[in-house]
């Protein structure tokens, strides 16, 4: 055996046979003593003298034994064990300190772990598909921005010409509500796809087959693919379901496949239905998204270049010269604008961690000065500096280990709460929080964080040990050496930075709170009280014309009239906060042509009455505006002001959707009224120009598109609380819809509240961080001031004995705290002044330099600082001079 290996093996053996080895050693040493004794006896010493001399000559028994041990064993391992035992003991000695340190760390680490687990799930984890980085999504970009919304002609163009991309597949933007009408009607989430979809995402199949290109044929049979979950729940995991028929939106579909359990589709879906596009369509409706896989060896840049060159070569272009096609990685496309937001929150929560660390550093520094004598004694009895350093590191690592364990536990509680704030609006995290969890990366992050803190803060106090001269420390009486300049200054610095960091968080949180207040005070333009929304999927052959939809809505209205308490009911495919179409319009006014895009919706005549949207001029729709009547349109005030400024648009003609394809062809319409503006795209968005037509006059092509891409929204207003009336309303609507399911029941207040969920999420998170930071900073100030008072008890006693009154002593201590507060606030303010730019995009109704916030937050923080300093100050002023002087 290699000698060093042999030695290693021997040490390893010794690790487990320490006692045996020690006994052996004792035996050998006593033998040695015997020899010595014999020799001294020989020289003529008395037996007692010989024994004494032998012992002296042999050296201290323990030293010999120790040096043997060192040679025989892994010294560091034995010492590490000792260090840890010692650290445990040290923790037990000062439970107050230990608890404070652990809680501080747990808050910092817990908050960080919680936010990082979201960052991890959304930004870092690869998509759960084969070769996820090669999946790209098609975008249409122009100066106004970019959209993943695609039309059939664009899709066709990519299929024919995007040679760098394979498995090009179209799928719905979002889940559509699809009515499962076999058995008990139920609304399920479905997604329209074309046949390449399952290949692109590498979907495993539990039963049956994937879709094939023949399923894309508009004239082919209707087929459906079920998800594992739906198959299990709704079809009792029927192994023979392939080939059976199910009724979907009152049509019969044949089940061809069931996906595997582990398929996590994007968007989430319970079943898939082929689009069955007519690829020759010239329809300019941008209603689905398209993704594909980069061919092997092709980079994203190459694929983009290829796409650009083919687009310009084939003149597949738009009037807009800036218009271009663009490929983006699917993950980037999915994550979108939440990426900077999440990183910003991660940054903010790092501030919390920094403050926690600052507090910990302070605690350790204070403790270090208290323990200086202990370490001096250790040094005096032979502990090397390395050994003391190791012991300190062991202590802080142990603290960090406890702190992180508690922190991880906290984060496990915090993450579900975090998700509850923002249901479903974070990409890649389902409403139930699936996709989140403590994976290896998160654990690694937490471990690395706490290890770094433990090492840094273990060594920091050790720096002060280095300066300790043993003799000095021992000579100085017990408690007062802590007031060394270096320590005092570093403690102040730590407190000042804590205050600065918390001020930054406080200002950020205040701005977001003001934003939320501003959002809540925005009048949406309609009344949400006692209004409930429900969806009903209408896809299928029954509803292909505006007249048929209008007739069904009329029927529903008659049925609901029989329910006491129901005030009014309306229906539209474009409810507030649901997606809405934008269409072009042309109008000739005083010889000049107005031509632009505006939002468009078709509503049942009672829409404005149900939502209590005032009609400002002209008239609303009524039952006479049916398919045979002259074509009419209402516009909102924003549109009137923008296109007919200072003029009267009433009676003007507009033509909607000209040149967009046969689906959109519409008669010219006469403007019959102007309705008040509503914030339908979100409270923070200004009202968009909107054209509204009566449902009975909706062009058939549009009805077919709308039923395909979204459900019909029922809007019901009741005289009393909606809750108790819901079962009757739903039953009546189901009957009117000849057995179609009613789903997504939500009150309008809920919808409004959800529309600002993202802002609330940011606000709550940042406020929580700010509150934690504030508490930690206050604790920091308090700790340092209280310590300072305790240290200076004697000095204060002398001052008071010499005639300083209580108020003066109190002022002195308060001033000390205030100076720290002012310095911290000054640093924090100047940093915040630049950092607020980062949250500019989150703000609404408040400027980044909001005077109120920039005044109130520092004042508040100063008040907290003074309060934290006041308690020790009061204690100082209550000191009895005699006691204080006798203190030592």
């Amino acid at each position: 055996m290699n000698p060093s290996l042999a030695r290693f093996a021997a040490k390893l053996r010794n690790l487990f046979t320490r006692n045996h080895v020690d006994a052996e050693l004792s035996r050998e040493i006593s033998a040695h003593l015997g020899f010595l004794e014999e020799e001294f006896l020989r020289r003529g010493d008395s037996p007692a003298e010989a024994r004494r001399k032998a012992r002296i000559a042999c050296g201290t028994f323990e030293t010999v034994r120790q040096s043997h041990r060192d040679a025989r064993s892994f010294l560091w391992l034995a010492q590490a064990g000792q260090d840890i035992r010692h650290a445990f003991r040290a923790m037990r000695w000062s439970p107050g300190f230990t608890a404070a340190a652990i809680v501080t760390l747990a808050l910092g680490i817990g908050a960080n772990t919680a936010v990082f687990s979201v960052v991890d799930a959304v930004l870092l984890q690869p998509l759960p598909y084969p070769a996820p980085d090669r999946i790209v999504e098609f975008f249409l970009s122009s100066q106004g921005g970019s959209t993943a919304g695609t039309s059939i002609p664009d899709f066709r163009f990519w299929l024919d010409h995007a040679h760098a991309v394979e498995d090009i597949s179209a799928f719905d933007f979002d889940q559509s509500e699809i009515g499962l009408t076999s058995g008990v009607p139920e609304e399920v989430h479905g997604v329209h796809v074309n046949s390449g979809y399952f290949r692109l995402f590498g979907a495993p199949f539990r039963l049956g087959r994937s879709l094939t290109s023949s399923d894309d044929n508009p004239a082919g049979a209707r087929v459906v693919v079920l998800s594992y979950g739906l198959w299990k729940r709704r079809f009792a995991a029927d192994e023979h379901i392939i080939g059976k028929a199910v009724s979907i939106d009152k049509e019969s579909y044949t089940v061809v496949g069931v996906t595997g359990e582990r398929f996590h589709p994007q968007p989430d879906a319970q079943l898939w239905i082929p689009f069955r596009f007519d690829l020759n369509s010239t329809d300019q409706f941008h209603s689905f998204e398209v993704a594909g896989r980069l061919k092997p060896g092709v980079t994203l840049a190459q694929a983009n270049a290829q796409l650009a060159s083919i687009a310009s070569a084939t003149q597949h272009d738009r009037p807009d010269p800036d218009f271009r096609f663009e490929l983006r990685r699917l993950r980037d496309a999915m994550v979108g604008d939440i990426r900077p937001a999440l990183w910003l929150l991660q940054g903010a929560v790092t501030f919390v961690l920094l403050i926690a660390c600052a507090n910990l550093a302070n605690l350790l520094l204070i403790r270090m000065t208290v323990r200086r004598r202990e370490f001096a004694i250790r040094a005096a009895i032979g502990a090397g500096r390395g050994r003391i350093l190791r012991q300190l590191t062991a202590e802080s690592l142990l603290l960090c280990a406890c702190g992180s364990a508690l922190g991880v536990a906290l984060s496990l509680l915090a993450v579900p709460a975090l998700m509850a704030l923002n249901p479903g609006s974070i990409p890649r995290i389902s409403e139930t929080g699936i996709g989140l969890g403590l994976d290896l990366r998160v654990m690694g992050f937490t471990l690395a964080t706490s290890l770094a803190i433990g090492l840094v803060f273990g060594l920091l106090p050790a720096l002060s040990v280095r300066r300790t001269r043993i003799a000095n420390a021992l000579l100085e009486s017990g408690s007062r050496q802590g007031a060394g300049v270096w320590n005092r200054r570093s403690r102040s610095l730590v407190v000042i930075s804590e205050i600065a960091l918390s001020l930054i968080l406080l200002i950020g949180a205040s701005l977001l709170i003001r934003t939320l207040v501003a959002l809540n005070s925005v009048n949406p333009g309609f009344s949400s009280r006692n209004v409930v929304l429900m969806t009903m999927p209408l896809e299928g052959r029954q509803f292909t014309s505006g007249a048929s939809v209008a007739a069904m809505v009329r029927d529903a209205r008659d049925r609901l009239a029989a329910i006491p308490g129901v005030e009014d009911i309306a229906a539209t495919f474009s409810a507030p906060y649901a997606s809405r179409m934008g269409l072009s319009f042309d109008s000739v006014f005083n010889g000049s042509t107005i031509s632009d895009d505006a939002e468009w919706m078709a509503v049942s005549p009672q829409y404005f009455r149900t939502l209590q949207i005032p009609v400002l001029r002209g008239r609303s729709f009524d039952a006479q505006d049916d398919s045979g009547a002259p074509a009419v349109v209402l516009i909102n005030q924003a549109m009137a002001k923008r296109y007919w400024p200072g003029r009267d648009p009433l009676g003007q003609q507009i033509e909607i959707g000209k040149g967009l394809g046969p689906n959109f062809s519409d008669r010219p319409r006469r403007i019959i009224g102007i309705v008040a503006d509503t914030h339908d795209d979100g409270l923070s968005q200004p009202p968009a120009s909107t054209m509204i037509i009566p449902d009975a006059q909706e062009p058939d092509g549009m009805v077919q598109l709308e039923t395909k891409f979204g459900p019909l929204w029922w809007i019901v207003r009741t005289r009393t609380a909606t809750g108790p009336l819901l079962p009757a309303i739903e039953a009546a609507l189901r009957e009117a819809g000849s057995g179609r399911p009613v789903g997504s029941v939500r009150t309008m207040d809920e919808v409004l509240s959800r529309s600002i969920a993202r802002q609330r999420f940011n606000m709550v998170l940042l406020s929580t961080f700010a509150v934690i930071a504030l508490l930690l900073a206050a604790a920091g100030v308090y700790g340092v001031m209280a310590y300072s008072v305790a240290q200076r008890a004697q000095e204060i006693g002398v001052r008071m004995a010499l005639g300083a009154d209580r108020a003066r002593v109190q002022r002195m201590i308060l001033r000390e705290g205030l100076v720290k507060g002012v310095l911290g606030v000054a640093c924090g303010l100047s940093a915040a002044f630049f950092l607020v730019r980062l949250v500019a995009g989150w703000l609404f109704g408040v400027s980044t330099r909001d005077l109120f916030v920039f005044l109130a937050a520092p004042i508040f923080l100063l008040a907290v600082t003074i309060l934290a300093a006041w308690i020790p100050a009061r204690r100082a002023s209550r000191l009895n001079p005699v006691d204080a002087l006798r203190f030592e």
Binding site: R27, E28, A31, G59
Partner: protein
């Protein structure tokens, strides 16, 4: 493992191993006290040997497998651990001796050169 480095006899450490091996090779099995006595005798008291260095050296040598220790009795019927050099120990001794010679030769030459210059 700082304590080893701090020992003032560090330079001697390797040398001590060599001396102990040599001693065992020529004198046969010996116990620690004998080794210490013999060292002191040979060096003419020049080498003040600390027991604290000898025992670790013995342990180290045994861990290397160069010597082997066994309990036995002395002529005076005292209990003692007798160390014997092993075959590996002899080989190591040979190698270390030639190393030492080369080294001391080199040092000597360098010192001589130093006086000349």
């Amino acid at each position: 493992m700082s304590s080893k480095e701090k020992k003032p006899l560090q330079l001697l450490q390797g040398t001590l191993d060599l001396i102990v091996l040599r001693n065992l090779a020529t004198m046969g099995p010996q116990h620690a006290y004998q080794i210490a006595g013999r060292l002191q005798q040979v060096s003419g008291q020049l080498l003040e040997l600390n027991q604290g260095t000898l025992y670790p050296a013995l342990v180290r040598l045994e861990q290397h497998g160069w010597i082997k220790g066994a309990w036995g009795k002395t002529e005076n019927n005292r209990e003692a651990r007798f160390y014997t050099i092993t075959a590996a120990g002899r080989k190591a001794l040979e190698k270390e001796t030639s190393n030492w010679r080369r080294m001391s030769d080199l040092v000597e030459r360098l010192l001589v050169e130093g006086t000349r210059a």
